[in-house]
């Protein structure tokens, strides 16, 4: 087993936990937390992948991903806060004005 197996497994677990929080927990704050967890996990996994490849292009890719997901998290916070203020609840099951 290579040295990267444990960190890669941890990264994948973190990513799955983020997806679970986003899809299963049906709450504004947990969805936001899920996005942040997934973002960190993805950046971490991209970093791990870049360590095993020459050329360093993935370094640029990892930074692009980190910056983009940080911006998304920054956008998610005020949007989630606005939603919570408007509807007066954190429960996404109660915020179902739209039909999907």
């Amino acid at each position: 087993m290579s040295q990267a197996a444990l960190p890669a497994t941890l990264g994948l677990l973190l990513f799955c936990a983020g997806v679970y929080a986003m899809l299963a927990k049906r709450s504004i704050s947990k969805t936001a937390l899920g996005v942040v967890l997934c973002s960190y996990a993805a950046a971490f996994l991209a970093g791990l992948l870049s360590a095993g490849t020459p050329g360093g292009v993935e370094g640029g890719m990892a930074w692009a991903g980190i910056a983009a997901q940080l911006a998304a998290a920054l956008l998610l916070a005020p949007m989630g806060a606005g939603l919570r203020r408007r509807f007066g609840t954190d429960d996404l099951a109660k915020i179902r004005g739209l039909k999907g």
Binding site: F15, V19, M22, I28, T31, G34, V35, C38, S39, A42, L45, A46, L49, S50, G52, T53, G55, V57, E58, G60, M61, A62, A64, G65, A67, A68, Q69, A71, A72, L75, L76, M79, G80, G82, L83, R86, F87, I95, G97, L98, K99, G100
Partner: protein
Amino acid sequence: MSGGGGMNILPLLLAAPFAGACVCAVSGKRFAALVRTAASLAVFWLSLRAAARVCLGGAFAWEAAGLAVDGLSALLLVTVGLIGFAVSLYTHGYLAPSAREGGFSALFLLMTGGMVGTVCAADLVSLVAFLEIASLASYALVAHGGGKDALEAGFKYLAIGCLASLFAFLGAAVLRSATGAASLADAASALAAPGATPALRLAAGLLIAGFGTKAALAPFHAWLPDAHTSAPAPVSAMLSGVLVKALGVYALLRLFLAAPGPGVAGVLATLAAVSIIGGALLAAAQHDYKRLLAWSSVSQVGYIVAGAATGTSLGMAGALLHLCAHSAAKSALFLSAGAVDRAAGTRDLRRLGGLRERMPVTASSSLAASLSLAGVPPLGGFWSKLLILLGCVEAGLGGLACAAALGSLLTLGAVMKAQRAIFYGELRPHWDAVREAPPSMRAPMVALAVLSAAAGLLLLPGPPRALLAGARDALRGTRQAARFAAGDAAEARAKNGVRLR
């Protein structure tokens, strides 16, 4: 910088929207609207120049930034430039000047710049970076109205969009790590090669999920109906007209559909068939005009992917023509929905009726775009759908051809239901006060409806056909390169008894 002599216009193409966005962010409301329109016009003009340069002298690149323009990029650039400029003009009449105009204009130009960068991206890093810029701006634009529905749709779109971006990002990272491919052409070749390793299969799955979500291909479409319905009409027109194509369909075309691998083409053809039928059925069941159009977008994206997934020249040409015809038609329809909503204060088909008397220009442009969308001869959508059908038959995909034909009939039923409910029948007394949209809103609607109806002219000899042929040739070139790469890989395996990494 390189490419065929003369000044490289790629830096200008990117500078126009991004500099415009910076100016809009700090300027007053009226000045911001002017800057937005001027920057959109500049993008349109520069995209036409880029397309002319590609048609006359071939592809060119800005290597330092990882950007390049070939026939496919040029077609998408002109589409983004044209729709962006038309929508920007329409917004003058649609949005009353307010303190939020600067923010709206800045986000609009950021989204345009992101799309320009995405369709010019030559490598995976540029693709991921520009795709995120356009996506982030679009999330904020959907929620820009600030109402309950807008916030809910924006939040949902942001959460699903982030997940899609992460899938695409991880897929790109795995692909780069497994194959060493940095450019999109190399990545397409690696994905098309037979004998894929588990890492390549994982990368392909992640990329299809990520870009399929951006393209709103079923079953990754959950964000689209709410986002398109709740966004302001100009934003809906941009999302449906160009964003799903520039971010999702374009990436799928570049990475998978130019040179479909053995299993991938079947997967994408299945997803396309589900999108065509499911989207059209759900569109026909809607009572909200914008929601009906949103579901129809899911169906029409399915046509583009179906045409490309056939792998035939006819199907590919049909997919590219449908990309143009649908962009113009759907933008015109969302703009007309905005005009109706603004005039009557509702989009509910059960409450509207007879508005043709009060809004003849909006009604006529909406009818022309609807008929083109449904594929009624001799309008633009007819020719694109005919080519896609012929491509399906040529490729032996009878089921997909049946789905495409049935989807077209369902779309005709859905759009005619909307036309009848909104514009025809007796005018109800409470709509007596309804007035036609102002000229700044009418002109873009009419122009886009005429373009969608006349999209079939792209098949006639002349400069427009060169644009379409250039895009098809770019895809064909990628396919040939992939075949060479696959041949090399097979040769290497035969010699060494090893599988392609």
